[in-house]
Assembly symmetry: C2
Homo-oligomer: 257 residues x 2
């Protein structure tokens, strides 16, 4: 038993998912840059990114992914499809998924009117459309705002704009203890370290160890990445792992290779 209320429970884990609206990613034309950026940004907020889905620019595909993920995570982010052109259907798809009508948001219209003046065409006014009941996310770069509705954060697809919107959300979303990481590395085949890794992880509940091999300069190496919410535990496990590697004849490096 604990006296802590749910809102202040220190062990509360906050999770998020991301839906990338993404014909240009699925065709291979564009290399996605939002997944890694959002993942790191969420990590700093104490929120764990647990799943990403990249879907085609289609009402049902977007709606199905949004409905599958929004109910099982604290936060759902989307990127892409909120511009002024005919292929920008994210707002319509999410409104339909939520059973909400689409409206022209008066604050978004005011932002666009201030930015475009008498050049606020019908196409540009599309960027003021939101699901009913939404609030806006500031876009410091190109003005047309992102959208928050329920636990969904509707972001731009262009990384520079997405990053500006995330900066506007910095520190504003409740999160838990950030997952920290620490890396020990070695010039070795990871298979030689496999048993040591398994034993070290098992001996230290609360720490996950991932093994990531690489081939460079004609040599084989591996980074062993430990993750935990405790910086002290990470330091302790890093020492254990380096000693255990050393004991089987693998020279460890304290850090990433």
């Amino acid at each position: 038993m604990t006296d802590a209320s749910p809102a202040s429970a220190p062990d509360r884990i906050y999770t998020a998912a991301l839906v990338v609206i993404g014909d240009e990613i699925l065709s291979g034309r564009t290399q996605d840059a939002n997944i890694a950026y959002l993942a790191k940004w969420l990590g700093v907020q104490g929120i764990r990114l647990k799943e990403v889905r990249v879907v085609v620019d289609d009402m049902d595909a977007i709606g199905d992914a949004v409905n599958a993920l929004r109910s099982v995570h604290d936060y759902l982010f989307t990127t892409g499809g909120i511009g002024p052109t005919h292929d920008d259907i994210t707002v319509d798809a999410i409104a339909a998924a939520l059973g909400r009508p689409v409206i022209v948001h008066p604050d978004a219209q005011a932002i666009l009117a201030a930015h475009y003046g008498d050049q606020l065409t019908d196409a540009r006014l599309r960027m003021a459309r939101t699901p009913e009941g939404a609030s806006l996310i500031e876009n410091p770069r190109t003005k047309a705002p992102g959208i928050r509705v329920e636990n969904i954060f509707i972001m731009a697809g262009v990384p520079m704009i997405t990053q500006g919107m995330l900066a506007a959300l910095d520190g504003k979303l409740p999160g838990g203890a950030p997952v920290l990481s620490r890396t020990v590395a070695a010039w070795t085949q990871e298979s030689k370290a496999a048993e040591v890794l398994r034993r070290t992880e098992r001996a230290n509940p609360g720490v996950q160890i991932g093994s990531y091999p690489f081939w460079r300069e004609g040599k084989t190496g591996a980074n062993f990445v430990m993750r935990s919410t405790s910086v002290e535990q990470l330091a302790d496990v890093a020492q254990q792992l380096m000693a255990a590697l050393d004991a089987i004849g693998i020279a460890p490096v304290d850090g990433e290779l």
Copy 2:
């Protein structure tokens, strides 16, 4: 009515999905490179990548994604989690999802025995484990093979290795007509071209037009990407679009900016 059998129907569309087994992607530590590469490779084979899911290194998360996607696409690819260490659980997760036992595949064991000789440790032998009834995909780079079971292709996570496995599959998977693309661009805000884009797409069934804005050299531009299976139709629509842009005072570029 048509005389063509299903196997030779010219309009058959082949689709694929990808499951990225991906703690290191979801933590933001690693920038994924497999999605874009696989997307382009599939395009050349005449197979359309329709969905990607990035999931955590967890038996249920992997199994759920695999089972959701394998039945609705012709092909399902996975990347990651097939190495020799404790965090490599993809084979176990997929075998469980299919209701098949995991075996040591004799051909895979022979490949590893030839490569490692008397250094074939228990950890390395893990890389010969497959779901029962699987066949192998050649790995020209580091030998430990990929795995095909039913319509699932289990690939490595390290891009260099994945690309070698895909090379070994080149031209071997039935596909349809490749989706071709052609780009017209302009130094303009995409909102100014929105109505022309919408009209041009509507007038040309079978062509999709995506609009992708960018900001460079202090200027705003957009690439308009047309996709179709017909190179003649793409050439025709590109001419239509350039003429229509020109008519509203936007100077078009024939190609990508």
